[in-house]
Symmetry: C2
Subunit: 138 residues, 2 copies
C-alpha cells in the first residue's frame, strides 16, 4: 500500500508539516500510525485531508470541522450531517456570488486604469470613472 511521510503530504497539500501535526492534535486527522516513531499517511488520510481543505476553504472554522466530523462519524443521524452540509452549501454559494461581483468590480477598475494609462500616453484628457462604474464583463 502506498504511504507518505509528513513532508510528502505537506508538499502535496501546500502546507507545513507543523500544520498536519496541528490538525492531528485537534483530532481532525486521526489514527495516523507511526513507523519508528514517524507518522505514516495513506490514501485514507489524504482523502480526509482533502475533505478538511474543502470545508475549510468553504469558510468553516477548524472548530466547526471538529463538530462536523463528530456528528458524521458517530453515524447517528444523517439528518444532522445533511443540515451541516446545507449550511456549507449556502456559504459556498454566497461566497461564489460575492466573488463574482468582486470580479466584475475588478474588471471595471482594470479597464479604467488601462484607459488612464492610454490617455496619459496619448496626452488626451483622463477617462471618467462614471463611464466604467456599471459596465458588465463576461
Amino acid at each position: 500500500m502506498l504511504t507518505y511521510t509528513i513532508g510528502e503530504v505537506a508538499t502535496r497539500y501546500h502546507m507545513r508539516p507543523s500544520t498536519l501535526r496541528y490538525y492531528e492534535e485537534l483530532g481532525l486527522l486521526y489514527d495516523v500510525p507511526r513507523q519508528g516513531g514517524r507518522r505514516v499517511y495513506t490514501a485514507q488520510h489524504l482523502a480526509r485531508l482533502s475533505t478538511i481543505c474543502c470545508y475549510k476553504n468553504a469558510g468553516m472554522s477548524l472548530e466547526e470541522l471538529q463538530e462536523f466530523f463528530r456528528s458524521t462519524e458517530s453515524h447517528a443521524d444523517p439528518a444532522k450531517t445533511l443540515a451541516i452540509l446545507d449550511t456549507v452549501d449556502d456559504r459556498i454559494q454566497s461566497q461564489i456570488a460575492e466573488l463574482q461581483a468582486n470580479y466584475q468590480q475588478i474588471q471595471r477598475k482594470k479597464h479604467f486604469f488601462l484607459a488612464i494609462q492610454a490617455a496619459q500616453a496619448a496626452g488626451v484628457p483622463q477617462p471618467n470613472w462614471a463611464d466604467y462604474a456599471h459596465r458588465h464583463y463576461a
Copy 2:
C-alpha cells in the same frame, strides 16, 4: 447631503463600529469629518468602504490594501495599480475555481447522505460512496 453615523454604516456593512474606527486608524478610511466629536460618513466613505470589502473579500490583507491605496492615490503610475489589480484578479479567479470544485464535492456528499437516509428509512443496504465520488452536478 445624506450622511450616516458610525452605527448606521456598521449596520449597513455588517460590521462593528470598532472595525470602522480600526480601518480609519490604519488609514484605509480617511477624511472622516466630525460633528460634535462624532464621525460623519457620506456616500464617498461608503464607496471607499465597498472597495475595501471587495478587495478584502478577494483575499487581500489590510496591509496590501494600504499599499494599494497609497499607490493609486499618489497618482503616480497606473502601471503599478494595474499590476496589483492583476494579482487580485488572479486570486479571485482561482478562488472561484476552487470554490466551484468544493461546491461539487458538497453536492456529492449531500446526495450521498440523502441516499443513506433513504436507505435507512427503507431498510435496504447503505449506498456506496464510490458511486458518488465522481458525479458532476449543475
